[in-house]
């Protein structure tokens, strides 16, 4: 039972990826658009999917890897259940954004750009989320924490991470 639902779910992912490639006539320049779809379908750039895309778009494997690792938006590893994005735009930075980041790194024992080993939390940094008047800003699963203090964010992240260990 379970296996079959998994397979059909998988099928849907491949169909999505294929649809994107078809929409662009399987042209090589569709690579970035297709990688966006792969990431939406899998949550990250799955290696098998990369091989599939390379073959279908007739792009060398190394070029696919080169593009996938050039752009920040693409993740090469599975992401956590929750994500926290700390804004490091100019306004956030001068209002203490980096201290917010440090507090989260310490509380969750994870570095920016990484995911906790239990896959509960991915910590990301953004160049600017465009909410400068709320600085410093952190996003917890898209919920905005404005004028964030290190204590607040540490507590918030602690809830997610503690949840797991208990």
């Amino acid at each position: 039972m379970q296996t079959s639902t998994l397979v059909s779910a998988e099928d849907k992912r491949w169909r999505l990826i294929r649809a994107t490639m078809r929409r662009h006539g399987f042209a090589a320049n569709a690579l970035i658009e297709t990688l966006h779809t792969v990431q939406e379908a899998f949550g990250y750039l799955d290696e098998e999917a990369l091989r599939y895309v390379a073959k279908e778009l007739r792009i060398p494997l190394s070029r696919v890897y080169g593009v996938a690792t050039f752009y920040n938006h693409f993740a090469m590893k599975p992401q956590g259940e929750h994500h926290c994005v700390v804004c490091l735009g100019t306004a956030c930075y001068i209002r203490g954004g980096s201290r917010v980041l440090e507090a989260i790194e310490k509380a969750a024992q994870v570095k920016a750009g990484e995911t906790t080993p239990d896959k509960k939390l991915s910590l990301l940094v953004a160049r600017c989320v465009g909410l400068c008047w709320l600085a410093p800003v952190a996003l917890f699963d898209d919920e905005v924490a404005s004028e964030a203090t290190p204590e607040e964010v540490a507590q918030k992240v602690g809830e997610w991470v503690d949840h797991v260990s208990s």
């Binding site: 290696e47 990369l50 060398p60 494997l61 190394s62 070029r63 890897y65 080169g66 690792t69 050039f70």
Partner: protein
């Protein structure tokens, strides 16, 4: 068919075809311009910036390997400013990787090593980066030691443009950039590498070399490249 233009390089009157680059014309007239990423027979990318020259009337320095000559151009290749920049650029390359000349397979035949001598770099004022980089010895005949890679992308270009395999490319970006084979998998497992060795021979440093070569033992042969380019253009 192409038009002949006259120009000055370092106040010397020279002439060239209008589809030639400043570098082409300079070399035809035995005027030395340092290059690192450029290699005859491959496309030019203007990445290493060592061939930057001053052109009168242009507010920016230009790469001699990519800019075409034009009638009345006045080019300067050895100004004090350029010399200073070249020294700094070479220093940057040394500081970025782990270049230990004394134990390198191409010691004495390395383009980076001789470039240091040529532009007058006798020590590196910049702090060393000491990056932790990988070495891949899985290929049966060749080795890539990324510690010695200067990211000139000659291997990437020769593999793509001449061999047609495109096994190599760049991964990551910025200071984290590195050359990869396929999906950053082991070279020895590569389904695309033909083992042609072109990448090994165009590599300016000891980053790519033949297995079994010891210190100073690796000689690189590039005579094939202009020949291959010519033969393929004919087709």
């Amino acid at each position: 068919m192409s038009v002949v233009v006259t120009l000055k390089i370092n106040d010397i009157d020279v002439s060239g075809q209008e589809d030639e680059t400043i570098l082409d014309v300079a070399r035809e007239h035995d005027i030395y311009i340092p290059t690192m990423c450029h290699l005859d027979g491959l496309s030019s990318v203007g990445a290493c910036r060592l061939c930057l020259v001053e052109v009168k009337g242009m507010n920016r320095l230009v790469t001699a390997c990519t800019v075409k000559v034009a009638e009345g151009m006045e080019v300067y290749t050895e100004t004090e400013r350029l010399k200073k920049y070249r020294r700094m650029l070479v220093e940057m390359l040394f500081s970025e990787g782990n270049h230990i000349c004394s134990v390198c397979v191409v010691n004495g035949r390395c383009e980076l090593q001789s470039m240091a001598g040529r532009v007058g770099v006798q020590h590196i004022t910049l702090p060393y980066y000491n990056p932790l980089r990988t070495l891949d010895t899985t290929h049966e005949r060749f080795v890539i030691d990324r510690n010695r890679c200067i990211l000139c992308t000659r291997c990437v270009r020769v593999c793509d443009e001449i061999e047609g395999a495109h096994t190599w490319d760049l991964g990551g970006r910025g200071i984290e950039s590195h050359v990869v084979t396929d999906l950053n998998t082991f070279w020895g497992d590569s389904p695309t590498c033909t083992g042609c060795s072109k990448c090994v021979h165009v590599c300016p440093t000891g980053a790519l070399f033949e297995k079994g070569r010891s210190v100073t033992e690796m000689t690189k042969h590039r005579e094939f490249l202009p020949y291959l380019t010519m033969m393929r253009e004919k087709k």
